[in-house]
C-alpha cells in the first residue's frame, strides 16, 4: 500500500531512509536545571542521536518509576510548566534539526487545550506527541484532526500483554512508530530485556506498516544493541536521566553517554 502519508515530518523522513540502530533519547524538560532544555538538545544533536523525546513534567506520572518521577518533581519544583516549555522551544528550529517528540500525560495537555496545543507544536516544528494515557478511541474522536493538520505523528505503546488484534489496530492508527514497551514494567525498572526475545520476534513477524522502537529498561550498550536486533532502534530514558543527575559537565557527559551506548566504549 503506497499511499501519500497524511503526516509527514522529520520523524517520518528519518524512518523513510530505512536507517537501523536508531537511538531515541528521552529527557525531562526543566531537569537538571530549569533552563537546560536547549543545552541538552544541542548536545544530543551534536552527539549524533537520531531523535529525542522531551518529557512534559507531571505531578503524578503513573507509568514511570522512581528516576523519572524524581526528575518530574525537580522540574516542577523549579517552575517548569507546559507554557514555559513551549516558550523554551519557540525558536528551536533555527538551530536544531533533529526530529523532536513531546511525551507527557494527558491532563496538562487537556488543561492547555488540545487544539491550541497541537497548533502550537505545529508552528514550532515539533514532530510528534506521545500521550500514554490518551485512549485510542478518544484520539480518533477528538485529537486526530488537530494532529494531522499540524503534521504531528502520534505514537502509541504496545506491551507484552497487548493482543495481536489491538497491535494491528494501533498500527492502523499510528502515524509515527510503534513504541514497543520491552517488559511488563514502569520506566527505569531493573527488569532485564533479554528475556523478551520471543515477544520482540512475535512483533517483528507481524510485519507492521510502521517501524518499531523498543523502550523501557534499555540502559546501556548491551541492551541497546540487543533491542536493535529486533527493531529499527531503541529508546533510552531513565539511564540518561540518572547520568544527567550525576553530571558535572552536561556537554561532555552527554557525548560520552551516547558514544558508550552506541559502541560500548
Amino acid at each position: 500500500m503506497e499511499t501519500q502519508p497524511i503526516v509527514s515530518n522529520r520523524l517520518t523522513s528519518l524512518f523513510s531512509t530505512g536507517k537501523k540502530n536508531i537511538l531515541n533519547v528521552y529527557f525531562t524538560a526543566g531537569f537538571p536545571a530549569l533552563d537546560d532544555t536547549l543545552r541538552i538538545l544541542r548536545s544530543l544533536e551534536k552527539s549524533g542521536v537520531d531523535l529525542v523525546e522531551i518529557g512534559i513534567p507531571f505531578s503524578d506520572p503513573l507509568a514511570d518509576g522512581p528516576t523519572i518521577q524524581e526528575s518530574n518533581m525537580v522540574a516542577l519544583g523549579q517552575g517548569m510548566t507546559l507554557k514555559l516549555l513551549l516558550e523554551q522551544l519557540r525558536e528551536i528550529r533555527k538551530e536544531i534539526s533533529l526530529p523532536i517528540l513531546l511525551m507527557g500525560y494527558l491532563n496538562p495537555v487537556m488543561q492547555y487545550g488540545v487544539e491550541e496545543f497541537c497548533d502550537q507544536l505545529g508552528s514550532i516544528g515539533i514532530d510528534g506527541l506521545i500521550l500514554p494515557d490518551l485512549p485510542l478511541d478518544e484520539y480518533k474522536a477528538f485529537y486526530k484532526n488537530a494532529f494531522e493538520r499540524n503534521h504531528l505523528s502520534n505514537v502509541f505503546l504496545v506491551t507484552p500483554q497487548t493482543s495481536e488484534a489491538r497491535i494491528r489496530e494501533i498500527d492502523q492508527e499510528s502515524t509515527g512508530f510503534i513504541y514497543v514497551v520491552s517488559t511488563d514494567s514502569t520506566t527505569g525498572n531493573a527488569k532485564d530485556i533479554s528475556g523478551a526475545a520471543p515477544y520482540f520476534e512475535r512483533i517483528r513477524a507481524m510485519q507492521l506498516q510502521h517501524p518499531a522502537l523498543i523502550g523501557f529498561n534499555v540502559k546501556d550498550h548491551s541492551s541497546f544493541s540487543f533491542a536493535c536486533q529486533y527493531a529499527q532502534g531503541a529508546i533510552v530514558g531513565s539511564a540518561f536521566i540518572r547520568m544527567l543527575q550525576a553530571s558535572k559537565n552536561l556537554e561532555s557527559d552527554i557525548e560520552t553517554f551516547v558514544r558508550s551506548l552506541r559502541t560500548g566504549q
Partner: protein
Amino acid sequence: MNFNVNEKGYYGNFGGAYIPEMLHPNVEELRNHYLEIIHDPAFQAEFQDLLRDYVGRPTPLYLAKRLSEKYNTTIYLKREDLNHTGAHKINNTIGQILVAKRLNKHRIIAETGAGQHGVATATACALMGLECIVYMGEVDMERQKPNVERMRMLGATVVPARSGSKTLKDATNEAIRDWINNPVDTHYIIGSVVGPHPYPDMVARFQSVISEEVKKQLKAKTGSELPTHVIACVGGGSNAAGAFYHFLDHKEVRLIAAEAAGLGVTSGYSAATTVLGKPGIIHGSKTLLMQTEDGQIVEPHSISAGLDYPGIGPIHAHLFETGRAEFMAITDKEAFQSAVLLSRLEGIIPALESAHAISALDHLDLKKEDVVVLNLSGRGDKDLQTYINRKSEFMND
C-alpha cells in the same frame, strides 16, 4: 436524566478509562467480564452468604433519638460501622475478591487512606488464602497506626508510599504502578468509586447493598421506603454511591454529599473537590479534581485520611454537575466536634470520615417532619489517637 454508567464508562461528561497501554489488558478483561460475573447466580449466592454470615449484614437502620431531638427532626443512622472490620469498605472487597477468584488472580493489591479499605482487603485475602499487598501513604501509616497493625496481623504486606503528600493519592499511584509491573497474576482491588471504567460502576454496585437495605428497613419502620434526605461523606465516594444508589431516580429524595474542607475551602489546605476542582484526569478517570492551571494535581488536606483525596469518583462529578446531589464542605473542626457530639448523644464513636456527614446536619434547614438517613460509614477506633491528640485544639469553645 440517567445516572447509570454508559457502555463506554461515562456518567454524563465524566468517567472513561484514561490509562496507559500497560493497564489496558487487565482493565479490558475486567470490563468484559464483570457484569457477567456479578450477575451469575452462583456468584450472587456466595456473595450474599458472605455478606450475611461473615460481614454481618444487613446492618441496622437505627433511629437516633437524642440526635433527632437535637436537630428537631427524625434521623436514622445506617450502621455501616457495625460491619465486620468497622466500615462499609468490606462490601466492596468481598465482592471484588470473588471477582478476582473467577478471573484466576492470586495476588491482590490495594491502596488505602484511612486503612479501612486496606484492612477490608487484607481480611478478604485472608479469608480466601490470597497474597495481599497494600500501599499506604507514609503520613497515613502514622495517623492510622492501629489499621497498619491490623493489616499486618491479617498477613498483608503494607508498603509505604513516599511520594507527593504521602497520602491516599500517592498510595493509589503506587498501587497502579505495581499493577503495571505485575499484569498477569494480579488483581487491583480499588477501594472507592474511582479509577478507570469499570471500577466506579463495579464498586458502586457492590456498595449499593446499603441503599437496598435502607429502602426495606425504612418501609418497615415508617411505611415509606423514601426518606427526605440521604447524607453521606465523600472521599472517592463509595459509601455515598452505595447510600444514594437506589434513590437516584427518586427526585424527591435530597442527596447530600459531605466533602472535606480541611482548614477551610480558601485556606490552601482543603480537599473540597467540587469547590476547588476542575474537570481533568486522575487515576484513569475524567472527573473533577484539584489542580493547578498547568494541570498538575494539587496535594489535598483533610484531618480524615479517607477523605484526603484531590478528586471524586466520576459518578459524583456527574451528580454535582447535574445538581442531583448537593455538596457541602465540612471543616476539620466541624467534623471533630460532630464526632464528639455523636459519641455523647448516642454512644457511638464515628470514624472521622463519617463525622463529616454528621456535620452536614448543621447546614441543612431540617424540618420536624423530615426523615433523614445518615450513612455512618465507619467507626472511630482507628481515629482514637487523633481524637485524643487534638481535643484541646478543636474543643476549646
